[in-house]
Amino acid sequence: MKIPPFYIGTTLLFWGMESNNLLLGVIIAVVLESCQFIKEKWTLSKDDFIRISDLTSVIFITAIGLILLNKEPITFFRNTTIWLPVILLPLVIAQLYSTNDKIVIGTQIGSKKKKKSYQHAPMDFSFYYVILALFATAAANSRSAYFFPGIAFLMGWLLFYNRGKSFKIHTFIATLVVVFAAGYFGFQAMEKSHHYLRKKSWEMMRSYYLNRFADPYKANIAYGSTGRLKQSGTIVIRVFSLTSPPDLLKEASYTNYNSAAWRNPHQLFDAAVLTAETEWELIPKPHPTGLKTTIEQNLPKEKGLLVRPAYSFRITSPNLFELERNKAGTLKALDSAPVVTTDFFYNRNKPVDDIPDQWNTFLPKHEKETLTKVAQTIWQIDDSKTAKLSKLSSYFSANFSYTLELQNRGRQTSLLANFLLSTKEGHCELFATATTLLLRTANIPTRYVTGFAVEEYSKLEGCYVVRDRHAHAWCEAYINGKWITVDNTPANWQDQDLSNRSFLEPVSDFLSFLKQKYKRFQIGSEQNYDTLLSIVIIILALILIYRIYRRLQLQKDEKYPNKQKRIFIPQDSPFTLLEEWLIEVAGERNHNEQMSTWLRRVCSSNQLPYQEILKLYQHHQKLRFDAEHFSEAEYQKLRDGVSKFLPSQ
């Protein structure tokens, strides 16, 4: 396969245009295409090519390191592919600027013997380079309207240059026109099919989960789970915030209470709107200005529910790859790194997050009587919504206490009735459930929310840490067109939880800190060392490049210690007249035929003295290549010798 002249340069220009690296593309194109005009070429040996391969490997590994450190992990493959034309530049330059038309790709790295190297059979690398440049262009995902015409033009050019010559050119052109037309409709059909299939498969998955009435991510909960969680001091979330962080982080919200369990009728999850490679919109634009909080959450299975501050409107994350949300705003990571770092932008004054529906005022039949009875003791019917909230809060703080022990279940028919009428003590889930349902008796739309409280600042980690025992439940009420947080759990719940912590917690915290550092390093989000590591990588790479380059230079020096370019000044030799005459008489030299062989042939067929003419030829060569030592007498002798054979004018 042959590459047409200027094809590599054009491909690189196309790459530069599509990947927003036009200047770089122009420079590389000029460098590569200049080889057509520069006549001087390098003489590179097989070992030199192998060293250049090693050099390219070093550049490649360096590029990978830099991309991992400085770009989002999600874009790693894409970025590496995009930069391939730059990374592989030394190899293609070595081929284009050397006297060889093929290069040897191999490595001396890892070979035990000095001279033993692993190597591939000689290959024309320029073609592979062009292909990779085209792939890099496609990977750039420019969504440009010029991509298809550009790629079609480049492909047509390449095919034209290598076409089958047994067919007429109009057959080729007609075929290509058909290909381009069908290709245009083909890619559009492909795009539409992909979108259709994706939509259909999502619908199928949703209906599957709906039919099974089971959400893999805890769409319903039961009492007690919070109690168990509270015993653990494991750090599960880290919150980085320049201002004071949000007090509560929402994980999920539920609206339907039945049989001592909260469920969510809105189990349908939709893909969150991806606005950029790593950015999602939770509400449509325009976005208000707001605060930013960075939350780092461990998702060992690389999927799960994400916690978020209330009123979040936009999120960005470098290690979150696919995200879904449901109507209630619960966020579900479908694909992520094991440690997800997410920037949440939120605004507490944002009026509407989502609008309540009939489920937010739904009261379970078997609890209705108890709830109405209790509500009547708390507020008057004609109290305002805000007054009702206030009275409810006072009611709980005056009559209820916080406990994690649920031993005395009481004489009532349900757990909630026991809590409200008999025991009057419980944990946050009971307070949240009671608040949510009591407010519904006053026709206030509410929902039950689970999540975590943010309260502990770690000096070691320089951020707020959220432990398992900080798991919390509260209520959100829709008042004056806005969801507000109503947390009636007595304020001392955190102190009670704290009393259960282990004395070894500081040790486990330190270990957890180290483990987290390692995890961050693994996924490449250890921001603090990025610049330092980038510099170290560049320095190490430069040292390696210098070592390889020095070896190249040294070998050149050893091979040609006193290399001086000899300049041959063209000489006007009388022998050329004889040569011209011989051509007239006997015809031109055959291709690759040596001069002496030709002279012998010509002399034998024309009965000329071969030895004598050969001697004249040797003199002629001396004049050509050693004119400095060619005396006037010798020149005269050569002229006389030649004139002897030439016919008189």
Binding site: A138, N141, G164, S166, T171, G183, H194
Partner: protein, 448 residues
Amino acid sequence: MTRVLYFIFKQSSHLKLYIDSRMTDSGRLFLIMAMVSCFFGLNTDRSMFFQFFPLLFLVLFIGFIFSLRLKTDLQCTRTLPETCIAGRAFTYSIAITNSSDKPIKGAFFKECLEHSIPQYQEFKQPLPEERATKRSLARLLKYKRWQTLRSITKRAQLPDMELPPIPSSFSIDHKVHFLPEKRGNMHFEGYKFFRKDPLGLFKKEITTKSQANILILPKLYHAPQLQFSGSRKYHQGGLTAAGDHGDSEEFISLREYMPGDPLKHIDWKSSAKTTGLIVKQYKNEYFSRYSLVLDTFCTEQNLALFEDAVSVAASILMVQDLGENVLDLLFVGDKCYTETTGSGLSEQLHMLKILASVQPKFDGDFSDLTNLIKGHAELLSGVMVILFSVDEARKELLNFITASRIPCKIALLCEEREQVEKELQQLGINTPLQLLEQDKIAEQLMSL
């Protein structure tokens, strides 16, 4: 497991052969591009490969359809010489006839070389180097073994030759150029003609059986004539089939001095009258007999060095003046061989043909070669030994040559001078050796 791997390798070789016979270089690369584009183009939101893929698929599809109707009605007659030399560009001519009633344009000619697939029995046996190494994944997968076995029979790669337009019912002469890579017999099964589809991606080969052979002689370097200080020796009963060279005690004539002639035969009177030394030539029992000893005992790791050793032996053999002397080539193959040339015996070309067929010996006892030399030692005026590794067995040979005081030259081929010098020191070998580094053979051989 081995049988499964053999099956996979065999089938993939057949598949590769089929693809090579149906697709051009461009076609194969377009196929790979199409597969990559298909894979990455599935998600149309993530990249632009989905715009690339339909184009690639369509050109391949249309090219394939065109290729089904391609016909090339040509015949060929080769004019092949008997031998060629490895490493030197070689040209032979073919006469191509277009017997159809239409002119043929854009046709290609391709030689159909023997395509040998290793047998299962060969594949089953581990390579000698594998026996010495630990178990590894590479050894388990046996890919290297397959590659090595395939490469043994591969002598040269003949490129596709594009032919000029051939008018109908017309014959043209064309030259085929190729570079023989490895010594040995190269077998031509037949030849193929093909044409490309309009897009240049697919082809349809028409194969014609026409068997032929060409022997690739070992690669030759410029080598010096060997000069030994030893004298000629008495060979009882002369040399069967020898010409009238050498001498008995019966004087025949005078001739110029040649290295190896005994000093006592110099005719000082005649020498004084001329510029060089003149010796008296006697009848046929005294002559110089040299030996060229080739080490054939090797492992897979130094197979390349063995090939170089054969080339060095061939190079030395070619430049010796064997008008007056006799040269024995000693080596061990399936048995011990002694081939003699010079003094009107077999020609040097015959010896080259033998060297072209020498096979490496992966097992066996090196002492066979030592014993072979011991058997000839008394008759030899000089010995040239070509080795490519050193060990105790070779040390014994070198010690014997030194002890028997036969004038000798020993060439040791190596990859790295420093490493071999260290090995020689460890083994305590003090015999003067000429080290020939693998990448500097041509220059170092001249100083032999």
